[in-house]
Symmetry: C2
Subunit: 249 residues, 2 copies
């Protein structure tokens, strides 16, 4: 059983280059451990219609959608409202979320801006935020998480058991000091013998030298071992140096 997900990263700062996103790679790796494969990601500006239409495009196509960002107390935090719009649901103060905020903030500090973090679509399932109080929420198959990486990660840890996951994809990596052009023809041959596997080739260019990591992915451990052994032998035959690495994504 293969389960799929999409990630929607929300925020002008990611598209402007100000902020280097760290949530996609984290969620990609951790979701795979749960047997859920991330098949698409999008990055949206802080514009209500853009967010709502991305949520709607993704939630019908994948088993799960995870959004990150835009659920804080400032005026540019419009994710919750946009998700309510996507689902055509009333956007209102969630009393359970208010209780969470009351646990975290002293009464004098719980101003209107902070209370606004409890405004959500109706009928959601809260997602605990152990770091800064304000919860995220789940609405059907869409999980609304914070953008700050540590909070996003803490929220994700708390919802793993809600995911009806499948089989995690396994992988092995063979790094080598050859170039893609040297191995491509015979790598295709290996791929053609293992149709149940995905063999990916990822070049690097560091200090003027090229190298390649070949990643063999799939669901059958023995086939992955066989195929990656063949990749190692190929590198050896071509006079290259290889290093086999276990890799979980």
């Amino acid at each position: 059983m293969k389960k799929t997900a999409a990630i929607l990263l929300i925020g002008n700062e990611i598209l402007s280059g100000r902020t280097k996103d760290a949530n996609l790679s984290y969620l990609g790796e951790k979701l795979n451990e749960q047997g859920v494969r991330v098949c698409e990601a999008r990055v949206s500006l802080d514009i209500e219609d853009e967010i709502a239409s991305a949520v709607n495009a993704l939630r019908v196509k994948y088993d799960y959608v995870f959004t990150t960002g835009g659920i804080g107390p400032t005026h540019d935090d419009i994710t919750s409202k946009s998700v309510a719009k996507a689902f055509g649901r009333i956007f209102q103060r969630n009393e359970d979320a208010v209780l969470e905020l009351e646990k975290y903030y002293k009464p004098a500090d719980l101003n209107e801006a902070r209370l606004s973090m409890a405004d959500m679509p109706e009928n959601v399932h809260l997602i605990e935020n152990p770091l800064s109080g304000a919860p995220g929420f789940q609405i059907e198959n869409v999980f609304v998480l914070a953008g700050v990486p540590k909070i996003c990660q803490a929220m994700f840890d708390g919802i793993k058991e809600r995911l009806d996951g499948g089989t995690p994809m396994l992988s092995k990596t063979v790094w080598c000091n050859l170039t893609e052009g040297q191995i491509a023809d015979q790598l295709l041959l290996i791929q053609s013998h293992y149709e149940m596997l995905e063999i990916g080739s990822y070049p690097s260019f560091k200090k003027g030298d090229f190298s390649v990591s070949i990643v063999v992915r799939g669901y059958e451990e023995d086939k992955i071992k066989d195929a990656s052994k063949k990749v190692s032998l190929l590198v050896e035959e071509l006079g290259g140096v290889y290093r086999e690495e276990d890799h979980e994504c």
Copy 2:
């Protein structure tokens, strides 16, 4: 005149978490310097129909589209073929691209896998690759770039003059040691006085402490200065410490 762009990052390795993308933030920042705002990004698996449909969705919506990744010599490099499909164009060997490859590789090294990097949609405008020979290409408003960051960047440097850019967005950043909840109400007030500006609030959480960077973006330098001055005063009034920073994105 405002010009817009979308970025399409192509590759299973970005969605699996194996590779942390570095191209989006680079292109976001450099395109803004050219007066082109990145308004959306997507990340696609190495699947022909997924790539083609993303290209088609984005190229009609934005002035420019930049793809990264999937133009190497291995079997999983299917970007060029997918872009040909998106445009309904014949996919064929480009003789000018072959000449570029012949300049870079010794005849004995120019095997079929490497030659396949010259297979492109018909009628494209090549994009020079000063680092590893194999060119990218421009097809109408879509620019097909390499995924390896240094090559992607070198290719981008070579095509800047092809972009009919607009006015670069300017910005100023005020960092402070307060939390978003403390400044949110009055920040909204400042935003409401400067409708021509976008004021973004970006929290950080490091070593157990929260801080916020407030970024004021827009096209009118004097308004940006005024508004960011107001933000600094707000922080001071609330008993916080601020630091003004010039920031280009």
